[in-house]
Protein backbone atom coordinates (compact mmCIF):
# COMPACT_ATOMS: atom_id res chain seq x y z
CA UNK A 1 0.00 0.00 0.00
CA UNK A 2 2.69 2.42 0.99
CA UNK A 3 4.70 1.66 -2.09
CA UNK A 4 1.67 2.24 -4.33
CA UNK A 5 1.06 5.58 -2.67
CA UNK A 6 4.70 6.51 -3.03
CA UNK A 7 4.67 5.52 -6.69
CA UNK A 8 1.59 7.56 -7.42
CA UNK A 9 2.98 10.58 -5.69
CA UNK A 10 6.22 10.32 -7.68
CA UNK A 11 4.06 10.10 -10.77
CA UNK A 12 2.20 13.18 -9.68
CA UNK A 13 5.38 15.09 -9.12
CA UNK A 14 6.65 14.04 -12.55
CA UNK A 15 3.39 15.28 -14.05
CA UNK A 16 3.66 18.47 -12.08
CA UNK A 17 7.21 18.98 -13.30
CA UNK A 18 6.10 18.53 -16.90
CA UNK A 19 3.15 20.84 -16.42
CA UNK A 20 5.53 23.52 -15.21
CA UNK A 21 8.02 22.86 -18.01
CA UNK A 22 5.20 23.51 -20.47
CA UNK A 23 4.48 27.02 -19.21
CA UNK A 24 4.87 29.46 -22.11
CA UNK A 25 8.33 30.73 -21.23
CA UNK A 26 9.78 27.32 -20.35
CA UNK A 27 8.15 25.71 -23.34
CA UNK A 28 9.68 28.22 -25.74
CA UNK A 29 13.04 28.37 -24.05
CA UNK A 30 13.31 24.58 -24.07
CA UNK A 31 12.19 24.46 -27.72
CA UNK A 32 14.76 27.03 -28.75
CA UNK A 33 17.54 25.25 -26.85
CA UNK A 34 16.56 21.93 -28.37
CA UNK A 35 16.48 23.61 -31.76
CA UNK A 36 20.06 24.83 -31.53
CA UNK A 37 21.35 21.59 -30.06
CA UNK A 38 19.63 19.87 -32.94
CA UNK A 39 21.42 22.07 -35.47
CA UNK A 40 24.82 21.93 -33.85
CA UNK A 41 24.81 18.20 -33.21
CA UNK A 42 23.13 17.15 -36.42
CA UNK A 43 25.84 14.69 -37.33
CA UNK A 44 25.45 12.82 -34.06
CA UNK A 45 21.77 12.62 -33.29
CA UNK A 46 20.72 11.81 -36.84
CA UNK A 47 22.50 8.47 -36.62
CA UNK A 48 19.77 5.82 -36.85
CA UNK A 49 20.56 4.40 -33.39
CA UNK A 50 20.32 7.73 -31.60
CA UNK A 51 17.30 8.98 -33.55
CA UNK A 52 15.59 5.60 -33.20
CA UNK A 53 16.08 5.56 -29.43
CA UNK A 54 14.84 9.12 -29.06
CA UNK A 55 11.72 8.46 -31.10
CA UNK A 56 11.03 5.20 -29.26
CA UNK A 57 11.28 7.08 -25.95
CA UNK A 58 9.05 9.84 -27.24
CA UNK A 59 6.45 7.30 -28.37
CA UNK A 60 6.57 5.57 -25.01
CA UNK A 61 6.21 8.87 -23.22
CA UNK A 62 3.25 9.78 -25.41
CA UNK A 63 1.50 6.45 -24.86
CA UNK A 64 2.10 6.55 -21.13
CA UNK A 65 0.75 10.10 -21.01
CA UNK A 66 -2.46 8.93 -22.67
CA UNK A 67 -3.22 7.13 -19.40
CA UNK A 68 -3.87 10.58 -17.98
CA UNK A 69 -7.46 11.56 -18.74
CA UNK A 70 -6.80 15.26 -19.19
CA UNK A 71 -3.99 14.53 -21.62
CA UNK A 72 -5.91 11.90 -23.56
CA UNK A 73 -8.96 14.11 -23.86
CA UNK A 74 -7.09 16.84 -25.69
CA UNK A 75 -4.90 14.67 -27.88
CA UNK A 76 -7.66 12.46 -29.17
CA UNK A 77 -10.11 15.26 -29.94
CA UNK A 78 -10.91 14.61 -33.60
CA UNK A 79 -9.76 18.00 -34.83
CA UNK A 80 -6.50 17.75 -32.88
CA UNK A 81 -5.44 14.47 -34.43
CA UNK A 82 -4.03 16.23 -37.52
CA UNK A 83 -1.72 18.18 -35.25
CA UNK A 84 -0.39 14.99 -33.70
CA UNK A 85 0.15 13.68 -37.23
CA UNK A 86 1.92 16.90 -38.12
CA UNK A 87 4.26 16.59 -35.13
CA UNK A 88 5.21 13.08 -36.13
CA UNK A 89 5.70 13.80 -39.84
CA UNK A 90 7.60 17.03 -39.31
CA UNK A 91 9.98 15.33 -36.87
CA UNK A 92 10.48 12.32 -39.09
CA UNK A 93 11.12 14.32 -42.23
CA UNK A 94 13.46 16.73 -40.45
CA UNK A 95 15.40 13.69 -39.37
CA UNK A 96 15.43 12.32 -42.90
CA UNK A 97 16.63 15.63 -44.32
CA UNK A 98 19.35 16.15 -41.72
CA UNK A 99 20.49 12.56 -41.97
CA UNK A 100 21.09 13.03 -45.67
CA UNK A 101 22.67 16.42 -45.04
CA UNK A 102 25.05 14.84 -42.51
CA UNK A 103 26.04 12.10 -44.94
CA UNK A 104 26.49 14.56 -47.80
CA UNK A 105 28.54 16.98 -45.70
CA UNK A 106 30.83 14.20 -44.61
CA UNK A 107 31.24 12.94 -48.14
CA UNK A 108 32.04 16.41 -49.43
CA UNK A 109 34.77 16.75 -46.82
CA UNK A 110 36.28 13.52 -48.03
CA UNK A 111 35.77 14.45 -51.68
CA UNK A 112 33.37 11.60 -52.30
CA UNK A 113 30.28 11.89 -54.52
CA UNK A 114 26.95 13.04 -53.02
CA UNK A 115 23.95 10.81 -52.39
CA UNK A 116 22.23 12.61 -55.23
CA UNK A 117 25.24 12.24 -57.55
CA UNK A 118 25.03 10.67 -60.95
CA UNK A 119 22.82 13.43 -62.31
CA UNK A 120 23.23 12.08 -65.80
CA UNK A 121 21.91 8.61 -65.03
CA UNK A 122 18.43 8.72 -66.39
CA UNK A 123 15.64 6.21 -66.24
CA UNK A 124 12.44 6.11 -68.22
CA UNK A 125 9.40 7.63 -66.55
CA UNK A 126 7.33 4.67 -67.72
CA UNK A 127 7.64 2.40 -65.75
CA UNK A 128 9.91 3.76 -62.98
CA UNK A 129 8.05 6.91 -62.01
CA UNK A 130 4.55 6.10 -63.20
CA UNK A 131 4.42 2.94 -61.16
CA UNK A 132 5.76 4.60 -58.01
CA UNK A 133 3.11 7.24 -58.43
CA UNK A 134 0.45 4.56 -58.78
CA UNK A 135 1.63 2.89 -55.58
CA UNK A 136 1.69 6.23 -53.74
CA UNK A 137 -1.81 6.96 -54.98
CA UNK A 138 -3.18 3.63 -53.79
CA UNK A 139 -1.44 3.92 -50.41
CA UNK A 140 -2.61 7.48 -49.80
CA UNK A 141 -6.16 6.61 -50.81
CA UNK A 142 -6.17 3.68 -48.42
CA UNK A 143 -4.71 5.75 -45.57
CA UNK A 144 -7.23 8.53 -46.06
CA UNK A 145 -10.14 6.11 -46.14
CA UNK A 146 -8.97 4.39 -42.97
CA UNK A 147 -8.59 7.77 -41.28
CA UNK A 148 -12.10 8.74 -42.41
CA UNK A 149 -13.59 5.50 -41.11
CA UNK A 150 -11.89 5.72 -37.72
CA UNK A 151 -12.53 9.39 -37.01
CA UNK A 152 -15.85 11.08 -37.59
CA UNK A 153 -15.75 14.68 -38.68
CA UNK A 154 -17.02 16.64 -35.70
CA UNK A 155 -20.20 18.68 -35.79
CA UNK A 156 -21.00 20.87 -32.83
CA UNK A 157 -24.18 22.73 -31.90
CA UNK A 158 -25.70 24.97 -34.59
CA UNK A 159 -24.04 28.37 -34.89
CA UNK A 160 -25.32 30.82 -32.36
CA UNK A 161 -23.98 34.37 -32.44
CA UNK A 162 -25.04 34.92 -28.83
CA UNK A 163 -23.15 32.03 -27.22
CA UNK A 164 -19.41 32.31 -27.58
CA UNK A 165 -17.50 29.09 -26.87
CA UNK A 166 -14.61 29.38 -24.46
CA UNK A 167 -11.90 29.23 -25.72
CA UNK A 168 -12.84 30.45 -29.21
CA UNK A 169 -9.98 29.22 -31.33
CA UNK A 170 -9.05 30.08 -34.90
CA UNK A 171 -8.56 27.15 -37.30
CA UNK A 172 -5.55 25.19 -36.09
CA UNK A 173 -3.15 26.29 -38.83
CA UNK A 174 -3.58 29.90 -37.66
CA UNK A 175 -3.06 29.18 -33.98
CA UNK A 176 0.50 30.47 -34.12
CA UNK A 177 -0.91 33.83 -35.08
CA UNK A 178 -3.53 33.66 -32.36
CA UNK A 179 -0.76 32.93 -29.88
CA UNK A 180 1.01 36.07 -31.09
CA UNK A 181 -2.10 38.00 -30.01
CA UNK A 182 -0.97 37.43 -26.44
CA UNK A 183 2.06 39.56 -27.14
CA UNK A 184 0.97 41.90 -29.95
CA UNK A 185 -2.11 43.82 -31.01
CA UNK A 186 -4.18 42.37 -33.86
CA UNK A 187 -2.84 44.80 -36.42
CA UNK A 188 0.59 43.23 -35.99
CA UNK A 189 -0.27 39.63 -35.13
CA UNK A 190 -3.15 39.35 -37.57
CA UNK A 191 -2.19 41.61 -40.45
CA UNK A 192 1.40 42.81 -40.55
CA UNK A 193 3.13 39.60 -39.47
CA UNK A 194 1.18 37.31 -41.84
CA UNK A 195 1.83 39.80 -44.61
CA UNK A 196 5.53 39.85 -43.83
CA UNK A 197 5.64 36.05 -43.68
CA UNK A 198 4.29 35.92 -47.22
CA UNK A 199 6.61 38.67 -48.44
CA UNK A 200 9.54 37.01 -46.67
CA UNK A 201 8.84 33.63 -48.27
CA UNK A 202 8.52 35.25 -51.69
CA UNK A 203 11.79 37.08 -51.15
CA UNK A 204 13.87 34.03 -50.15
CA UNK A 205 15.12 33.04 -53.63
CA UNK A 206 15.97 36.63 -54.47
CA UNK A 207 17.89 37.31 -51.26
CA UNK A 208 19.79 34.06 -50.95
CA UNK A 209 22.61 34.41 -53.44
CA UNK A 210 24.58 31.46 -52.10
CA UNK A 211 25.11 29.26 -55.16
CA UNK A 212 25.92 26.18 -53.08
CA UNK A 213 23.48 23.56 -51.95
CA UNK A 214 21.25 23.67 -55.02
CA UNK A 215 19.56 20.34 -55.53
CA UNK A 216 20.97 18.27 -52.68
CA UNK A 217 20.71 18.01 -48.91
CA UNK A 218 23.39 19.87 -47.00
CA UNK A 219 23.61 21.90 -43.83
CA UNK A 220 27.23 22.89 -43.78
CA UNK A 221 27.08 24.92 -46.97
CA UNK A 222 23.91 26.84 -46.07
CA UNK A 223 24.03 27.19 -42.29
CA UNK A 224 22.59 30.69 -42.10
CA UNK A 225 19.75 30.18 -44.59
CA UNK A 226 18.63 26.90 -43.07
CA UNK A 227 18.85 28.12 -39.48
CA UNK A 228 16.80 31.22 -40.21
CA UNK A 229 14.14 29.40 -42.21
CA UNK A 230 13.79 26.60 -39.70
CA UNK A 231 13.65 29.02 -36.79
CA UNK A 232 10.65 30.62 -38.45
CA UNK A 233 9.03 27.39 -39.54
CA UNK A 234 9.69 25.14 -36.58
CA UNK A 235 9.74 27.52 -33.62
CA UNK A 236 7.54 30.43 -34.61
CA UNK A 237 5.04 28.40 -36.62
CA UNK A 238 4.87 24.70 -35.70
CA UNK A 239 5.77 24.99 -32.02
CA UNK A 240 3.33 27.85 -31.52
CA UNK A 241 0.57 25.82 -33.18
CA UNK A 242 1.28 22.91 -30.87
CA UNK A 243 1.24 25.29 -27.96
CA UNK A 244 -2.00 26.95 -29.02
CA UNK A 245 -3.73 23.63 -29.63
CA UNK A 246 -2.76 21.64 -26.60
CA UNK A 247 -1.85 24.13 -23.91
CA UNK A 248 -4.27 27.02 -24.35
CA UNK A 249 -7.62 26.53 -22.67
CA UNK A 250 -10.55 28.68 -21.58
CA UNK A 251 -9.88 32.45 -21.65
CA UNK A 252 -6.73 31.59 -23.60
CA UNK A 253 -5.17 30.69 -20.26
CA UNK A 254 -2.24 28.32 -20.11
CA UNK A 255 -2.95 24.76 -18.97
CA UNK A 256 -0.29 22.07 -18.55
CA UNK A 257 -0.75 18.82 -20.49
CA UNK A 258 -2.03 17.01 -17.40
CA UNK A 259 -4.22 19.78 -16.10
CA UNK A 260 -7.98 20.02 -16.23
CA UNK A 261 -9.27 22.87 -18.43
CA UNK A 262 -10.96 24.82 -15.70
CA UNK A 263 -13.03 27.64 -17.24
CA UNK A 264 -13.08 29.58 -13.98
CA UNK A 265 -9.37 30.04 -13.55
CA UNK A 266 -8.84 33.79 -13.50
CA UNK A 267 -6.40 35.46 -15.82
CA UNK A 268 -4.22 37.48 -13.50
CA UNK A 269 -2.05 39.71 -15.59
CA UNK A 270 -0.85 43.12 -14.54
CA UNK A 271 0.99 44.64 -17.44
CA UNK A 272 3.43 47.50 -17.46
CA UNK A 273 3.76 50.03 -20.23
CA UNK A 274 7.15 51.09 -21.48
CA UNK A 275 6.24 54.76 -20.99
CA UNK A 276 5.58 54.03 -17.29
CA UNK A 277 8.89 52.26 -16.98
CA UNK A 278 10.66 55.19 -18.58
CA UNK A 279 8.95 58.30 -17.18
CA UNK A 280 7.60 57.12 -13.85
CA UNK A 281 9.88 54.34 -12.68
CA UNK A 282 13.18 55.58 -14.09
CA UNK A 283 12.89 59.37 -14.21
CA UNK A 284 10.42 59.62 -11.35
CA UNK A 285 8.14 62.12 -13.14
CA UNK A 286 4.49 62.08 -14.12
CA UNK A 287 3.60 61.02 -17.65
CA UNK A 288 3.83 63.87 -20.19
CA UNK A 289 0.44 65.05 -21.35
CA UNK A 290 0.90 64.82 -25.10
CA UNK A 291 0.91 61.26 -26.36
CA UNK A 292 3.70 61.80 -28.86
CA UNK A 293 6.06 63.02 -26.14
CA UNK A 294 4.80 60.30 -23.82
CA UNK A 295 5.68 57.65 -26.41
CA UNK A 296 8.88 59.27 -27.63
CA UNK A 297 11.20 56.91 -25.69
CA UNK A 298 9.48 53.85 -27.15
CA UNK A 299 9.55 55.32 -30.66
CA UNK A 300 13.24 56.10 -30.31
CA UNK A 301 13.89 52.59 -29.04
CA UNK A 302 12.06 50.96 -31.93
CA UNK A 303 13.63 53.33 -34.42
CA UNK A 304 17.06 52.45 -33.09
CA UNK A 305 16.22 48.77 -33.31
CA UNK A 306 15.38 49.02 -37.00
CA UNK A 307 18.02 51.59 -37.98
CA UNK A 308 20.98 50.41 -35.94
CA UNK A 309 20.08 46.73 -36.05
CA UNK A 310 21.33 46.20 -39.60
CA UNK A 311 24.58 48.03 -38.86
CA UNK A 312 25.28 46.07 -35.70
CA UNK A 313 24.35 42.77 -37.32
CA UNK A 314 26.70 43.59 -40.15
CA UNK A 315 29.61 44.13 -37.75
CA UNK A 316 28.82 41.08 -35.74
CA UNK A 317 27.87 38.36 -38.20
CA UNK A 318 27.05 39.51 -41.68
CA UNK A 319 30.23 41.06 -43.06
CA UNK A 320 30.59 38.52 -45.78
CA UNK A 321 26.92 38.08 -46.54
CA UNK A 322 26.24 41.81 -46.79
CA UNK A 323 29.12 42.18 -49.21
CA UNK A 324 27.95 39.24 -51.29
CA UNK A 325 24.33 40.23 -51.68
CA UNK A 326 24.57 44.02 -51.99
CA UNK A 327 22.87 46.89 -50.22
CA UNK A 328 19.24 46.44 -51.27
CA UNK A 329 19.10 42.71 -50.62
CA UNK A 330 20.86 43.17 -47.32
CA UNK A 331 18.38 45.85 -46.22
CA UNK A 332 15.39 43.66 -47.08
CA UNK A 333 16.99 40.73 -45.30
CA UNK A 334 17.57 42.84 -42.18
CA UNK A 335 14.04 44.22 -42.08
CA UNK A 336 12.62 40.71 -42.35
CA UNK A 337 14.94 39.27 -39.72
CA UNK A 338 14.38 42.16 -37.32
CA UNK A 339 10.63 41.73 -37.61
CA UNK A 340 10.97 38.00 -37.05
CA UNK A 341 13.13 38.54 -33.98
CA UNK A 342 10.67 41.10 -32.66
CA UNK A 343 8.41 38.19 -31.72
CA UNK A 344 10.77 36.37 -29.36
CA UNK A 345 12.09 39.70 -28.04
CA UNK A 346 8.62 40.87 -27.11
CA UNK A 347 7.92 37.49 -25.53
CA UNK A 348 10.98 37.71 -23.33
CA UNK A 349 10.12 41.28 -22.35
CA UNK A 350 6.65 40.13 -21.38
CA UNK A 351 7.94 37.28 -19.25
CA UNK A 352 10.61 39.30 -17.50
CA UNK A 353 9.20 42.85 -17.22
CA UNK A 354 5.49 42.16 -17.82
CA UNK A 355 5.88 44.67 -20.62
CA UNK A 356 2.65 45.42 -22.45
CA UNK A 357 3.48 47.96 -25.17
CA UNK A 358 6.80 49.39 -26.24
CA UNK A 359 4.99 52.13 -28.10
CA UNK A 360 1.41 52.55 -26.95
CA UNK A 361 -0.41 55.22 -28.94
CA UNK A 362 -3.77 53.82 -27.99
CA UNK A 363 -5.35 57.00 -29.37
CA UNK A 364 -4.49 55.80 -32.89
CA UNK A 365 -4.70 52.05 -32.23
CA UNK A 366 -0.97 52.17 -32.93
CA UNK A 367 0.50 49.88 -30.30
CA UNK A 368 3.65 47.83 -30.63
Amino acid sequence: MDSILAASSTLDSVKHFINVACEPHWFLIISVLAFFIFLIGYRTWTKPIVAGTVSALATLFFLASCADTNFAKIVTKADNVPIVIMMVTVSFLLWLAFRQAAINDERMEKGEPLIEAGADDKVLVWPDLVYSELIALVLCTALLIVWAIILRAPLEQPADPNVAPNPAKAPWYFLGLQEMLVYFDPWLAGVVFPGLIIVGLLAIPYIDKNPRGNGYYTFKERKFAITTFLFGFVILWVVLIIFGTFLRGPNWNFFGPYEFWDPHRPAALLNTEFHDLFWVNTLGRPLPGHYLIRELPGIVLLGAYFMLGPVIMKWLFFRKISRDIGFIRYSVLCVLILFMLLMPIKMVLRWTLNLHYIVGITEWFLNV
Binding site: I85, I145, A164, K169, G213, F365
Partner: protein
Amino acid sequence: MINRFGNWVREGQIWGSIFRHGVPRDRRTRAMAILSNVFLHLHPVAIRKSSIRLSFTWCMGGITFFLFLVEIVTGVLLMFYYRPTVEYAYFDIQGLRAHVTLGLLRELHRWGAHAMVITIWLHMLRVFLTGSYKPPREFNWSIGVILLVLTLLLSFTGYLLPWDQLAMWAITVGSNMARATPGAGSEGPLSAFIQIGGVPLVHAGDDARFGLLAGTFVGPNALLRFYVLHCVFIPCVVTVLLAVHFWRIRKDGGVSGPL
Protein backbone atom coordinates in the same frame (compact mmCIF):
# COMPACT_ATOMS: atom_id res chain seq x y z
CA MET B 1 -6.81 -17.54 -72.70
CA ILE B 2 -6.67 -14.27 -70.76
CA ASN B 3 -3.57 -13.38 -72.69
CA ARG B 4 -5.25 -13.99 -75.99
CA PHE B 5 -8.24 -11.94 -74.95
CA GLY B 6 -5.92 -9.16 -73.87
CA ASN B 7 -4.16 -9.20 -77.18
CA TRP B 8 -7.46 -9.18 -79.00
CA VAL B 9 -8.56 -6.07 -77.09
CA ARG B 10 -5.27 -4.31 -77.61
CA GLU B 11 -5.26 -4.98 -81.31
CA GLY B 12 -8.83 -3.84 -81.86
CA GLN B 13 -9.85 -0.51 -83.29
CA ILE B 14 -11.26 0.93 -80.06
CA TRP B 15 -8.11 0.43 -78.02
CA GLY B 16 -5.97 1.63 -80.88
CA SER B 17 -8.01 4.80 -81.19
CA ILE B 18 -7.53 5.64 -77.49
CA PHE B 19 -3.88 4.68 -77.03
CA ARG B 20 -1.88 5.45 -80.11
CA HIS B 21 1.09 3.36 -79.12
CA GLY B 22 1.81 -0.30 -78.64
CA VAL B 23 2.14 -1.96 -75.26
CA PRO B 24 4.87 -0.05 -73.38
CA ARG B 25 7.49 -2.76 -73.44
CA ASP B 26 10.45 -1.21 -75.21
CA ARG B 27 12.07 2.23 -75.11
CA ARG B 28 10.10 3.62 -78.02
CA THR B 29 6.63 2.57 -76.88
CA ARG B 30 7.40 3.61 -73.30
CA ALA B 31 8.38 7.05 -74.47
CA MET B 32 5.26 7.18 -76.61
CA ALA B 33 3.12 6.21 -73.61
CA ILE B 34 4.21 9.39 -71.85
CA LEU B 35 4.25 11.69 -74.85
CA SER B 36 0.87 10.79 -76.30
CA ASN B 37 -1.13 11.06 -73.09
CA VAL B 38 -2.29 14.49 -72.02
CA PHE B 39 -2.06 13.67 -68.31
CA LEU B 40 1.16 11.72 -68.36
CA HIS B 41 2.94 14.26 -70.52
CA LEU B 42 3.24 16.47 -67.47
CA HIS B 43 6.22 14.18 -66.98
CA PRO B 44 9.36 14.15 -69.03
CA VAL B 45 10.10 10.92 -70.88
CA ALA B 46 13.22 10.17 -68.90
CA ILE B 47 14.16 11.43 -65.48
CA ARG B 48 17.22 11.58 -63.24
CA LYS B 49 17.56 8.60 -60.98
CA SER B 50 18.11 10.81 -57.94
CA SER B 51 14.88 12.72 -58.57
CA ILE B 52 12.64 9.72 -58.11
CA ARG B 53 14.26 8.52 -54.91
CA LEU B 54 11.55 8.73 -52.29
CA SER B 55 13.97 10.12 -49.73
CA PHE B 56 14.73 13.09 -51.98
CA THR B 57 11.30 14.56 -52.75
CA TRP B 58 9.31 12.62 -50.12
CA CYS B 59 6.68 12.65 -52.88
CA MET B 60 5.21 15.59 -50.99
CA GLY B 61 4.32 17.72 -54.02
CA GLY B 62 2.65 14.71 -55.58
CA ILE B 63 0.72 13.88 -52.41
CA THR B 64 -0.41 17.49 -52.11
CA PHE B 65 -1.68 17.32 -55.66
CA PHE B 66 -3.40 14.02 -54.92
CA LEU B 67 -5.13 15.57 -51.93
CA PHE B 68 -6.20 18.53 -54.01
CA LEU B 69 -7.88 16.13 -56.44
CA VAL B 70 -9.55 14.29 -53.55
CA GLU B 71 -10.90 17.63 -52.33
CA ILE B 72 -12.30 18.44 -55.78
CA VAL B 73 -14.07 15.10 -56.14
CA THR B 74 -15.49 14.91 -52.62
CA GLY B 75 -16.24 18.63 -52.69
CA VAL B 76 -18.36 18.35 -55.84
CA LEU B 77 -20.24 15.44 -54.28
CA LEU B 78 -20.80 17.45 -51.10
CA MET B 79 -22.26 20.28 -53.16
CA PHE B 80 -25.11 17.96 -54.11
CA TYR B 81 -26.22 17.84 -50.50
CA TYR B 82 -25.44 21.26 -49.17
CA ARG B 83 -27.21 24.61 -49.43
CA PRO B 84 -25.27 27.67 -48.26
CA THR B 85 -28.03 29.40 -46.33
CA VAL B 86 -28.40 29.93 -42.62
CA GLU B 87 -31.68 27.96 -42.60
CA TYR B 88 -30.32 24.86 -44.31
CA ALA B 89 -26.53 24.67 -44.00
CA TYR B 90 -26.26 23.05 -40.58
CA PHE B 91 -29.15 20.65 -41.10
CA ASP B 92 -27.90 19.60 -44.52
CA ILE B 93 -24.65 18.57 -42.90
CA GLN B 94 -26.53 16.79 -40.14
CA GLY B 95 -28.63 14.98 -42.72
CA LEU B 96 -25.51 14.05 -44.61
CA ARG B 97 -24.14 12.43 -41.47
CA ALA B 98 -27.34 10.58 -40.68
CA HIS B 99 -28.84 9.48 -43.96
CA VAL B 100 -26.32 9.20 -46.75
CA THR B 101 -25.16 5.67 -47.47
CA LEU B 102 -21.44 5.12 -46.98
CA GLY B 103 -21.34 8.60 -45.53
CA LEU B 104 -17.62 9.17 -45.59
CA LEU B 105 -17.77 12.20 -47.84
CA ARG B 106 -17.47 14.78 -45.14
CA GLU B 107 -14.76 12.83 -43.35
CA LEU B 108 -12.73 12.42 -46.53
CA HIS B 109 -13.15 16.08 -47.36
CA ARG B 110 -12.28 17.40 -43.92
CA TRP B 111 -9.34 15.15 -43.14
CA GLY B 112 -8.10 15.51 -46.70
CA ALA B 113 -8.08 19.27 -46.24
CA HIS B 114 -6.19 19.08 -42.95
CA ALA B 115 -3.74 16.66 -44.52
CA MET B 116 -3.22 18.94 -47.50
CA VAL B 117 -2.28 21.84 -45.24
CA ILE B 118 0.32 19.61 -43.60
CA THR B 119 1.70 18.12 -46.82
CA ILE B 120 2.04 21.51 -48.49
CA TRP B 121 4.17 22.71 -45.56
CA LEU B 122 6.26 19.57 -45.79
CA HIS B 123 6.64 20.05 -49.54
CA MET B 124 7.85 23.59 -48.95
CA LEU B 125 10.23 22.32 -46.29
CA ARG B 126 11.67 19.75 -48.70
CA VAL B 127 12.06 22.33 -51.47
CA PHE B 128 13.81 24.65 -49.04
CA LEU B 129 16.14 22.07 -47.55
CA THR B 130 17.28 20.84 -50.96
CA GLY B 131 17.85 24.46 -52.04
CA SER B 132 15.51 23.88 -54.95
CA TYR B 133 14.34 27.50 -54.94
CA LYS B 134 17.71 28.62 -56.23
CA PRO B 135 18.15 29.65 -59.86
CA PRO B 136 16.57 28.73 -62.20
CA ARG B 137 13.62 27.84 -59.96
CA GLU B 138 13.08 31.15 -58.12
CA PHE B 139 9.85 31.94 -59.89
CA ASN B 140 8.37 28.52 -59.29
CA TRP B 141 9.01 28.98 -55.58
CA SER B 142 7.02 32.22 -55.78
CA ILE B 143 4.16 30.42 -57.53
CA GLY B 144 4.39 27.89 -54.72
CA VAL B 145 4.08 30.57 -52.02
CA ILE B 146 0.91 31.88 -53.67
CA LEU B 147 -0.39 28.30 -53.80
CA LEU B 148 0.35 27.98 -50.11
CA VAL B 149 -1.61 31.13 -49.28
CA LEU B 150 -4.51 29.98 -51.45
CA THR B 151 -4.52 26.54 -49.85
CA LEU B 152 -4.81 28.12 -46.42
CA LEU B 153 -7.59 30.39 -47.67
CA LEU B 154 -9.40 27.38 -49.13
CA SER B 155 -9.23 25.70 -45.76
CA PHE B 156 -10.29 28.85 -43.97
CA THR B 157 -13.33 29.53 -46.20
CA GLY B 158 -14.39 25.90 -45.96
CA TYR B 159 -14.19 25.97 -42.18
CA LEU B 160 -17.29 28.17 -42.01
CA LEU B 161 -19.59 26.06 -44.16
CA PRO B 162 -20.85 23.48 -41.58
CA TRP B 163 -22.29 26.50 -39.76
CA ASP B 164 -21.82 25.01 -36.30
CA GLN B 165 -20.39 26.75 -33.27
CA LEU B 166 -16.83 25.70 -34.08
CA ALA B 167 -17.13 27.06 -37.62
CA MET B 168 -18.74 30.33 -36.80
CA TRP B 169 -16.49 31.28 -33.93
CA ALA B 170 -13.27 30.23 -35.61
CA ILE B 171 -14.16 32.48 -38.51
CA THR B 172 -15.15 35.24 -36.10
CA VAL B 173 -11.77 35.04 -34.38
CA GLY B 174 -10.01 34.94 -37.74
CA SER B 175 -11.91 37.72 -39.43
CA ASN B 176 -11.76 40.04 -36.42
CA MET B 177 -8.15 40.56 -37.36
CA ALA B 178 -9.20 42.33 -40.53
CA ARG B 179 -10.69 45.04 -38.34
CA ALA B 180 -7.16 45.97 -37.37
CA THR B 181 -5.74 46.40 -40.86
CA PRO B 182 -3.69 49.59 -40.84
CA GLY B 183 -5.52 52.25 -42.77
CA ALA B 184 -8.28 49.88 -43.91
CA GLY B 185 -9.86 48.48 -40.76
CA SER B 186 -12.13 50.45 -38.47
CA GLU B 187 -9.89 49.71 -35.48
CA GLY B 188 -6.64 49.71 -37.40
CA PRO B 189 -3.82 52.16 -36.80
CA LEU B 190 -4.01 55.34 -38.84
CA SER B 191 -7.52 54.63 -40.09
CA ALA B 192 -8.85 57.52 -38.04
CA PHE B 193 -6.83 59.93 -40.19
CA ILE B 194 -8.60 58.88 -43.36
CA GLN B 195 -11.50 61.27 -43.31
CA ILE B 196 -13.05 64.14 -45.20
CA GLY B 197 -14.15 67.16 -43.19
CA GLY B 198 -14.35 65.19 -39.97
CA VAL B 199 -16.39 62.36 -41.52
CA PRO B 200 -14.40 59.13 -41.14
CA LEU B 201 -14.11 57.17 -44.37
CA VAL B 202 -13.11 53.89 -42.69
CA HIS B 203 -15.73 52.58 -40.29
CA ALA B 204 -17.26 49.23 -39.33
CA GLY B 205 -19.69 49.46 -42.23
CA ASP B 206 -17.11 49.63 -45.01
CA ASP B 207 -13.75 48.45 -43.70
CA ALA B 208 -11.66 45.43 -44.64
CA ARG B 209 -13.62 43.15 -42.35
CA PHE B 210 -16.87 44.26 -43.92
CA GLY B 211 -15.44 43.41 -47.31
CA LEU B 212 -14.50 39.94 -46.14
CA LEU B 213 -17.80 39.14 -44.43
CA ALA B 214 -20.21 41.24 -46.49
CA GLY B 215 -21.54 42.51 -43.19
CA THR B 216 -20.48 43.53 -39.73
CA PHE B 217 -20.80 40.00 -38.32
CA VAL B 218 -20.49 36.40 -39.49
CA GLY B 219 -24.00 36.00 -40.92
CA PRO B 220 -25.83 34.81 -44.03
CA ASN B 221 -23.90 37.07 -46.40
CA ALA B 222 -20.59 35.81 -45.06
CA LEU B 223 -21.76 32.23 -45.50
CA LEU B 224 -22.68 32.82 -49.14
CA ARG B 225 -19.48 34.73 -49.81
CA PHE B 226 -17.29 32.06 -48.27
CA TYR B 227 -19.21 29.37 -50.14
CA VAL B 228 -18.60 30.95 -53.52
CA LEU B 229 -14.95 31.64 -52.75
CA HIS B 230 -14.51 28.11 -51.44
CA CYS B 231 -16.28 26.20 -54.20
CA VAL B 232 -15.61 28.30 -57.26
CA PHE B 233 -13.18 31.13 -57.13
CA ILE B 234 -10.18 29.85 -55.16
CA PRO B 235 -10.19 26.34 -56.70
CA CYS B 236 -10.16 27.87 -60.17
CA VAL B 237 -7.21 30.09 -59.34
CA VAL B 238 -5.37 27.17 -57.72
CA THR B 239 -5.95 25.03 -60.80
CA VAL B 240 -4.48 27.66 -63.08
CA LEU B 241 -1.48 28.19 -60.81
CA LEU B 242 -0.93 24.44 -60.55
CA ALA B 243 -0.75 24.29 -64.33
CA VAL B 244 1.90 27.01 -64.22
CA HIS B 245 3.70 25.25 -61.34
CA PHE B 246 3.93 21.94 -63.18
CA TRP B 247 4.83 23.58 -66.48
CA ARG B 248 7.62 25.47 -64.79
CA ILE B 249 9.03 22.34 -63.15
CA ARG B 250 9.56 20.96 -66.65
CA LYS B 251 10.82 24.23 -68.10
CA ASP B 252 13.25 24.77 -65.23
CA GLY B 253 14.92 21.47 -65.99
CA GLY B 254 12.89 19.02 -63.94
CA VAL B 255 13.16 18.24 -60.26
CA SER B 256 16.41 19.67 -59.00
CA GLY B 257 19.61 17.75 -58.55
CA PRO B 258 23.28 18.55 -58.03
CA LEU B 259 24.72 20.38 -61.00
